[in-house]
Symmetry: C2
């Protein structure tokens, strides 16, 4: 049995995870930033003991603890090298956590943890695996030869920050024209708003009104109901998503790409046009192709991946 | 001592390569396409014996033979999976070559061979290394954990075919807006021609006349001589090169990137503006950065890399 911890800027979530990647118990506590990393680790330790005892187990039953957190992580040395969200700079989280528990403890970037979770559940038979998450941003993780690849400094795998449009619109990262600026759900909402302004008769207006706000589903619902403007938004958005994926495929030719994030709940309605675009535009015309599919773990991916990352 | 073979569409070049990556003897013979792969292998065997005997050695002195060739290569099984240039489809080159020589024989993609050569000479101390070659196209190779990474089907590492401009100009690969369509020397020549048409007074006209043609150096020579239009061409071209490199850096955070191809002979004049752009635009602002440098092997990289790839 393993513990997976998702250390976020708002909450610390922890889960008891079986060898097979099933979550049996979870709990969470607020992160209460800004705080010293030692206080945060003390809370992670308390939370770990709490979920273990709730399950009728003791810490002796736990084979390892994995921690996923935002930022650049030096997994080899167990250090958060830099995290803007957590306000941490060279924080030795693993060494601090070892003061509480003398067992294998691993730390990795949260997107990498989610990627590793999806990999263990949906792709552990392949040598090259990419996970893409379409959310507030576009995140990703690279698994090569059963290990997370994150570059020599732990800052790699920023798949959302490949250029999609040279000299394009500004991205949160400070660069311009990043894939994230066109293919995140944040971008989709912006594209939806713009289309609504141009099309006062679109069904998107009533859908947004019923939902109380414009969200990532607005254009999809409208498109499925036959709304022309909604359909155009979805078509353009999926083309942005797919165009970035073509770059990823041409670089990695991974055996499998899994797409996650809330928007991936659209399933085949999202996946099929993406597959079609990639098939038409990718470089490889003659050899076996990358398999594209939809994630299955959603918000659990980070906890599962963090937990199973300390399995070795 | 190793033999490295660069099997191209026009010529087969071979070199004797020392353990340290020094080429001591070379020779070549025309490929004479279209021909059956068995005839081509027979010529590679003859050429190998010729360079060995010219060096006063016998095949017993050779520890291995490496072959680099264009196309998608299945190194594990010693097969050219598909090569448009060589008109080969599932050609078992290694098995055929083994009929002549009973020693370690390895086959890999030619850009990967060049990348591996530059890696062995200029980067063998790092765990993550990317080689980019700016030539007729934009090629590349990825070395992770001392091994060439080329995806599950051998078709990966097509770094020139990441999207730089969504819905941009057509690329030779059939896609649109690829980095190669903006950052290859072919693209630079096109950009130079267009600028010359717009600027009949530019020094580029006399430089091209003196050279007998417009080539990849025309704009660089003009820029260095203070020509405004030439300077604009160079500035724009280097921005295209650097913009693609930012994507590569954000994905891989490799410890080292080496830039090759004829144009890389421009040295710091090429490298410094690229470094400046990457530094400004890359995602990683707080951690150690990728080292960018210029290749040193030029045309020898493929032979050296192919030879040393069979060292293990």
């Amino acid at each position: 049995m393993y513990i997976g911890i998702d250390l976020g800027g708002t909450n610390i979530a922890a889960g008891l995870v079986t060898e097979e990647g099933e979550i049996t118990n979870t709990d969470s506590t607020p992160t209460l930033l800004p705080r010293n990393y030692k206080e945060i680790v003390a809370d992670m330790a308390k939370l770990s003991e709490k979920i273990v005892s709730k399950a009728g187990l003791t810490m002796d039953d736990i084979d390892g603890i994995g921690i996923g957190c935002p930022g650049s992580v030096d997994s080899k040395n167990g250090i958060v090298a830099f995290s803007n969200n957590l306000k941490m700079d060279h924080a030795p989280l693993v060494a601090e956590m070892k003061k509480y528990f003398d067992k294998p403890i691993n730390i990795l970037n949260d997107a990498d943890a989610a990627a590793f979770g999806e990999y263990m559940i949906n792709g552990s038979n392949v040598d090259s695996f990419i996970f893409i998450t379409l959310g507030t941003g576009v995140g990703g993780g690279i698994i090569i030869n059963k290990k997370v690849y994150s570059g020599f400094n732990g800052a790699g795998g920023e798949l959302g920050h490949i250029t999609l449009v040279h000299n394009g619109i500004p991205c949160n990262c400070g660069n311009i024209g990043c894939w994230e600026a066109y293919a995140s759900v944040t971008a989709l909402i912006r594209q939806t708003k713009e289309a609504m302004e141009r099309n006062p008769d679109s069904k998107m207006h009533e859908i947004a009104k019923a939902d109380g706000k414009i969200n990532g589903r607005t254009a999809f619902i409208a498109a499925k109901a036959g709304d022309k403007a909604g359909n155009e938004v979805v078509k353009q958005y999926l083309e942005y998503v797919a165009s970035g994926l073509v770059s990823i495929i041409n670089i990695f030719q991974p055996e499998k790409i899994v797409i996650g994030g809330g928007i991936s709940r659209e399933g085949d309605y999202l996946l099929n046009p993406i597959k079609e675009y990639c098939d038409k535009h990718e470089y490889n015309k003659y050899l076996k192709k990358t398999e594209l599919s939809i994630a299955t773990l959603y918000n659990d991916a980070g906890i599962v991946g963090a937990a199973l990352s300390c399995k070795e």
